[in-house]
């Protein structure tokens, strides 16, 4: 007992000094569990996140857009891989994590339970959803767990491409016909609030935050990161003539931040507990993709057994 206490103290001191924790270092069980929870949800989000965009690969409006979208969706698969691998360094089993996702027992980002109804949504996702992810992940790149932080650094470099290609889609539509402008604004109206919800519950209702902040798993609170996203995104919207769908949004010259209206937390809670517009569809697609790929995984393994053992 004494031993665990002193180990825990040494661990806390190490974190306070800004040292990075590596897989074989001693760590409190709660630190390990919280990281596995956060990182596996993050990995699942990358993988499920391919579905709403994959929906538009065959219907992209030009060959160039199709190439770009394909490259972006491939990146997301890679991101899933990086984070699953980083989660495994904590002793989590990848098969177990994936089984939990497919059995509906694991969470993933609520944003992917919204439908992509037209091409403008692909612009809005790259710009707003990846934009929000960048704000989140830039912070996580400085977190105390080495493998997670390194995965985030790699991911952040790639997300900038995602963010810019999305913004370019929106910008081009805003220079197009009246109908295209309306499509872009409509996508903005539908994706803005769900993008703000990506930062999680308000600080007042964020049950896991205190430990995570002390352990430098989280470096900023949900509300701080949300604010950072709003501050950088509003001028981008204005620059291309899009209106933020929030009547209470206004610049505060004293705080040098935008003030925003209340987020609809009922909707947030409904979506994370499985009642968003596309939860069932996403899970069914994910399960089908996993089942359809099964023979490939088995065939490759059989081939390896025959040729390399």
């Amino acid at each position: 007992m004494q031993d665990t206490l002193s180990k825990e103290q040494a661990f806390e001191d190490k974190i306070a000094r800004g040292q990075v924790i590596e897989p074989k270092d001693w760590m409190p069980e709660r630190y390990r569990k919280q990281l596995i929870r956060m990182m596996s949800q993050h990995a699942h989000s990358e993988v499920v996140g391919m579905l709403p965009e994959g929906n538009w690969i065959t219907r992209a409006p030009s060959l160039e857009r199709k190439l770009v979208l394909l490259a972006k969706v491939q990146d997301e698969a890679g991101h899933g891989l990086y984070i699953y691998s980083a989660t495994e360094t904590l002793g989590a089993d990848r098969k177990e994590l994936i089984d939990q996702l497919l059995a509906g027992k694991a969470k993933y980002s609520s944003i992917f339970n919204y439908p992509t109804t037209n091409w403008a949504d692909i612009g809005a996702i790259g710009w707003l959803v990846d934009g929000a992810a960048i704000v989140n992940q830039t912070a996580l790149a400085k977190c105390s767990y080495g493998p997670y932080s390194r995965a985030m650094l790699r991911i952040c470099k790639e997300e900038n491409f995602h963010n810019k290609q999305g913004y370019q889609i929106m910008a081009r539509m805003m220079r197009g016909t009246k109908q295209q402008q309306e499509m872009a604004q409509d996508a903005m109206n539908r994706w803005w609030w769900p993008a703000l919800m990506m930062f999680g519950p308000s600080d007042k209702n964020s049950p896991n935050s205190e430990d995570l902040m002390r352990w430098k798993v989280k470096l900023y609170s949900n509300d701080d990161l949300r604010q950072r996203f709003i501050d950088r995104t509003v001028p981008q919207a204005e620059a291309i003539g899009l209106t933020i769908p929030d009547k209470e949004l206004k610049w505060n010259d004293k705080t040098r931040h935008y003030e925003h209206g209340e987020i609809n937390w009922e909707e947030f809670n409904a979506v994370i507990s499985g009642n968003g517009p596309c939860n069932k569809q996403r899970m069914n697609q994910r399960i089908k993709a996993h089942e359809d790929g099964k023979w490939v995984r088995q065939a490759a393994e059989a081939y390896a057994a025959k040729h390399y053992n």
């Binding site: 074989k24 890679g78 390194r150 490759a300 393994e301």
Partner: protein, 98 residues
């Protein structure tokens, strides 16, 4: 859902060299059923944007690593051997190129 007989393939560690003459660095991990696919997957995942000109893939269980507890005793012997460093040696005044 039936997940029996499902496989996630074996775990590999990936090391990449960024440019000629540079050391190989750990880039990350991946899953693959054999070394050929491990190399292809490593190229696809860890060198999508010219991050590597050479890649090593190593089965993760083939790696032997020191443990954090070794930090003191295991590396200790090098601390008391100051004569391994050039600044241990005094040179006469006026000598510059040594």
């Amino acid at each position: 859902m039936q997940n029996n007989n499902d496989t996630q393939w074996m775990l590999w560690e990936v090391f990449t060299q960024e440019k000629p003459g540079a050391p190989f660095e750990h880039a990350g991990s991946l899953r693959a059923p054999d070394k050929e696919l491990a190399l292809l997957n490593a190229r696809d995942v860890y060198s999508r944007r010219n991050e590597a000109i050479n890649i090593w893939v190593v089965p993760a269980d083939a790696i032997t690593a020191s443990t954090p507890d070794d930090e003191g005793p295991f590396f200790d012997p090098s601390n008391d051997k100051a004569y391994r460093h050039p600044n241990f040696y005094k040179t006469p005044a006026g000598i510059k190129q040594i």
